[in-house]
Symmetry: C2
Subunit: 197 residues, 2 copies
């Protein structure tokens, strides 16, 4: 169950990586399976024409009056371009989650915790690169601990066609296990403050 | 091409009617195929658990700083519940578009133009009730004249799997033709002001 809370999340990457579906799964998990509220905002604009994709999710224990994410607390990036564009907006104390083989983290704002996962490679182990987004969702679940694992699983299964549920569940589990491993080994990489942006 | 403009649209109905896809098609048409900007915001909350679905779309010729639709100018409703909930928020001078066999319009705010389409029945003529949302998009295109027909068609085709393009294009054409017929016959139903809500 959601405690009284408000969390702002941005997920960004290339078109075709399944950014919107990942955002929608997180919103559903919070609102439909944990009794909270969530909004998901997707932009279509020049950046969409250029092949990038981003979505904003707000999770809340109360109805959301203002769904626009100005400064996300959690940023999930699956491309270098998305990292370059959105990392400077991350709130101090926030969490940065990266597809670590697609994003090189050079300069991060102060007090940001960084977690990387080779999501594309883990998805390829399932022979379906297309589920990298759900690997990211599993990893997100494990490292942020924001939502129940079970709610996220249900939201994944609810969001894909029946024939794809087993594959997506396997992708989720891979991401979650990878994240749990990192957290248990204390590899949260509390990145030292570099130049604040 | 979009003239300098800002349009606020809400689309609402039952879960399963394809509300989110319809909203996304309209956003894409404006931003990707007409060079404008668009955002689509989807809410997950108690109403989603109860089986209703709604999305907000903002179309703009300029970047959108504040994507929250408080008072839509255009409301597209596919269920009585959605009508009851959102019609009171419609701006004076706005447009109300209904699935006319699912929505009984009793009381509308002042100065609202109402256009109804039997979208479910038109979709059933194609033997796929599931495309009623794209019939609504076609109808929306014809009666609002907000976006080019060609942009909307491209956005429809871009938003569905290749095997479904022909069906969805046919659904779009049916809705568009029905809307054009209404407009040409001057049946825009400029509803007399009843009790303002």
């Amino acid at each position: 169950m959601l405690q009284r809370m408000l969390s702002e999340i941005r997920i960004a990457g290339f078109g075709g990586q399944g950014v919107i579906l990942a955002a929608s799964v997180i919103g559903k998990a919070a609102a439909i399976f944990e009794g909270g509220f969530a909004t998901m905002t997707q932009s279509f604009g020049p950046e969409a024409r250029g092949g990038s994709s981003s979505a904003q999710v707000i999770l809340s224990s109360d109805p959301i009056l203002y769904p626009y994410v100005a400064r996300p607390e959690i940023l999930v990036v699956m491309s270098q371009e998305a990292y370059a564009r959105f990392a400077p907006q991350l709130k101090p104390g926030g969490i940065l989650i990266t597809e670590q083989e697609l994003v090189r983290v050079d300069q991060v704002p102060e007090n940001i915790r960084v977690f990387g996962v080779p999501a594309t490679r883990l998805a390829e182990e399932l022979r379906r690169k297309v589920v990298l987004n759900i690997v990211m969702v599993g990893f997100f679940g494990a490292v942020t601990k924001l939502l129940d694992r079970e709610s996220l699983c249900k939201a994944v299964e609810d969001s894909v066609p029946p024939a794809m549920q087993k594959l997506n569940r396997a992708a989720f589990d891979k991401g979650f296990a990878y994240g749990t491993g990192l957290v248990n080994r204390g590899e949260a990489e509390p990145v030292e403050a570099l130049e604040a942006v």
